[in-house]
């Protein structure tokens, strides 16, 4: 438990520091863009007598690339921060829709290794599990890692679909292109559930990870 909290706190702090780095890069590249704009304005004011900066368009393109990477980094920061705060003391409930979205974005690289992509279906409503966010995240990550090698079809896509059943909330981790052979192999390699916290069962094309619904 202490290790978990330590890692959570460190992840949240790293995310905060990263944010500051990104903010500085963003403003510095923005300032370059400002000066580029001013230089062009001055060149136009001199009726073209002052030559314009030869690499203006290339520089503008580079600044846009930097800004796009800052946006990308901001997304990573957000997810890292959410992951870090998942170990915070707090309510013993977690929204499985939020967890699916978080794992969907954190596991993108793992899916790529299997030449697959991850899709996350939007939860139609809040789906509160009687479990801590960190428990939902680790269970879902385990299931995703178990299903990925058996994912087939073209293109390969693994879908995380949160939903509600009788007294439970769940996330289906399914692959539309999974062959019968893959399904059999998956059934044999299925990780165990955790009594009192979650169950894992086979569904068509994948696995259902289910938690008791909070407040039931």
């Amino acid at each position: 438990m202490d290790n978990e909290k330590y890692l959570g706190r460190m992840a949240a702090m790293v995310s905060h520091d990263l944010c500051n780095v990104l903010a500085t890069i963003q403003q510095a590249s923005g300032l370059m863009g400002d000066f580029l704009y001013l230089a062009r304005k001055e060149s136009l004011k001199s009726m073209g007598l002052r030559p314009k900066f030869k690499y203006h368009d290339k520089f503008q393109e580079i600044i846009a690339q930097v800004q796009a990477q800052v946006d990308r980094g901001q997304g990573i920061c957000e997810r890292l921060s959410a992951l870090g705060h998942s170990t915070d003391d707090g309510p013993e409930t977690a929204d499985v829709g939020v967890a699916a979205a978080l794992v969907g974005s954190l596991c993108g690289r793992a899916a790529k290794k299997h030449k697959a992509s991850l899709e996350v279906a939007c939860a139609p409503e809040p789906l509160k599990a009687a479990a801590r966010l960190i428990d939902v995240l680790t269970a879902l990550d385990t299931v995703v890692q178990a299903v990925l090698p058996h994912c087939g079809g073209e293109p390969r896509a693994l879908r995380l679909a949160p939903g509600r059943g009788e007294g439970e909330v769940f996330i289906d981790v399914v692959c539309a292109g999974m062959a019968a052979q893959g399904q059999e192999a998956l059934a044999g390699a299925l990780p165990a559930g955790k009594p009192g916290i979650f169950t894992i069962g086979i569904v068509q094309g994948g696995v259902r990870l289910a938690f008791a619904e909070a407040g039931r």
């Binding site: 995310s15 944010c19 963003q26 300032l31 400002d34 921060s81």
Partner: protein
């Protein structure tokens, strides 16, 4: 140049100096302080309309600086800067009387218009 009096308080020196330069290019003159103590001292010297205040700095924490500003300079409006995952701190700041909070990294256009709104309130 606009006649707004803005104070930026952030311990990330490169960030805050660049931000000040960009705001100045947009006609907004700013003073810069690198921690809460320096910010409060700058305010005692000359009261700004708006303070853009980072919440996580060494020394006095942002929320404490905010509380002191509200106590000593009730007309001054404060825009808080927070990192990802710290929206709760931003909300706490709003409860303490901050004008608004923004998440880093932030767009200069959003900040400029937020400062404009805050100046209006500070001068009303």
């Amino acid at each position: 140049m606009k006649d707004w009096n803005i104070l930026l308080v952030d311990d990330e020196e490169d960030f805050v100096q660049t931000l000040a330069e960009r705001l100045e290019l947009r006609g907004i003159e700013c003073r810069v302080a690198l921690d809460g103590e320096a910010g409060l001292a700058a305010m005692a010297e000359s009261q700004p309309d708006v303070v853009v205040l980072d919440m996580f700095m060494p020394g006095i924490k942002g929320l404490e600086v905010l509380r002191l500003i509200r106590e000593r300079h009730p007309k001054v409006q404060v825009i808080l800067l927070t990192g990802q995952g710290a929206t709760k701190d931003g909300m706490d700041g709003m409860k303490l009387g901050a004008f608004d909070y923004m998440i880093k990294p932030l767009s200069i256009d959003d900040l400029t218009s937020k400062i404009g709104e805050a100046v209006k309130v500070a001068r009303s």
